[in-house]
């Protein structure tokens, strides 16, 4: 869970003790999860109204969407970039969606 974890252990490390990552296809909704995947799609939405950046992150098992509100880009988050995402996701129209999850850029 983004804030709780950030507050409890500071900046997350991919291999530290705050929990293992799960395959994207195995991630569950409404539970704190950590997933690692590659950015496969980026979309700034919508053109009018509240700005938001929707990023699709995929691994071999599936895709999830992370939405960051109030921004249209995030430095370092580019197509093909590997990301560690942690947060609580909501199931929406068949896919899991995070709102403002914690993220770590991976090499």
């Amino acid at each position: 869970m983004g804030l709780l974890r950030r507050r409890a252990v500071g900046r997350p490390e991919p291999d530290d003790s705050c929990g293992p990552t799960v395959a994207i296809g195995a991630a569950e909704a409404r539970m704190p999860v950590r997933v690692v995947g590659q950015v496969s799609r980026m979309r700034a939405r919508p053109t009018t109204g509240v700005p938001a950046l929707a990023v699709t992150i995929s691994d071999d098992t599936g895709s999830i969407v992370a939405v960051w509100t109030g921004r249209r880009e995030i430095g370092g988050v580019t197509l093909g970039r590997r990301l560690l995402i942690e947060g609580v996701a909501l199931r929406r129209a068949g896919h899991l969606e995070f709102t403002n999850p914690a993220y770590t850029l991976l090499p």
């Binding site: 869970m1 804030l3 409404r30 109204g49 609580v88 909501l90 995070f98 709102t99």
Partner: protein, 220 residues
């Protein structure tokens, strides 16, 4: 449904009782233990939680993690926004409803703060007064999906260009639809062949920028 209500003022308490009567599982959060002590006895079946709803730990303790709806209805807009954001961001609550106290703040109650549906009492009252006094004008009742869809109401005046025309022939813009017609105290479910009459109250769901077109068709 599991509902968590932040704010045990008159709005929160009323909502809690209504939702309980509809057999929902209701938890109510308030900072003041005096409020709980005073009202707990008359509100059997409702789970009370004393704490600051703007604190993550409080929300976690009230079971937001598996709540279907969180309603932020305190008398403080800042608190309502914080509760909404936490509910959406940290607990992925599917439906977050927030109360707008000061209409000047309404623009913030949107997706950016995790709000799915905002209800502004002053705005609603204005709309209702407007509705009560005006025939032949376009009254916005409710805003959905962060303002991307609006429910509006028009009471057709005698001179409305829509009178006597079948709905299908009215040429409503694609971004809008007539959802109900209130006629002589009855609700008419609109079909393509429904013919609008003088003094019909027409409820329209409007999205995009189609307000002006709808207004032109129904009001003239």
């Amino acid at each position: 449904m599991k509902v968590v209500i932040a704010g045990a003022g008159s709005v929160g308490r009323y909502m809690a009782m209504q939702l309980l009567a509809a057999h929902h599982e209701v938890t109510i959060i308030d900072q003041a233990s005096a409020v709980a002590t005073r009202h707990r006895d008359q509100m059997e079946g409702i789970t009370w939680h004393i704490g600051d709803a703007c604190e993550l730990d409080t929300l976690a303790a009230t079971g937001c993690a598996d709540a279907d709806v969180v309603a932020a209805v305190t008398g403080d807009d800042e608190d309502n926004l914080v509760v909404s954001l936490l509910a959406k961001q940290e607990f992925a609550v599917p439906r977050v409803v927030a109360r707008v106290n000061n209409p000047d703040n309404e623009w913030m109650f949107n997706e950016m703060w995790g709000v799915d549906l905002s209800v502004s009492t002053p705005h609603l009252l204005t709309a209702l007064v407007e509705e009560a006094v005006s025939v032949g004008s376009f009254v916005r009742l409710l805003s959905l999906e962060g303002g991307r869809a609006r429910l509006a109401e028009v009471t057709l005046a005698a001179g409305s260009p829509a009178i006597g025309i079948e709905l299908a022939a009215l040429g409503m813009p694609r971004e809008s639809t007539v959802v109900a017609v209130l006629r002589d105290g009855h609700v008419v479910v609109p079909r393509g062949d429904t013919v609008l009459r003088d003094l019909d109250e027409v409820l329209v769901l409007v999205t995009g920028d189609s307000d002006d077109d709808v207004r032109r068709l129904l009001v003239g």
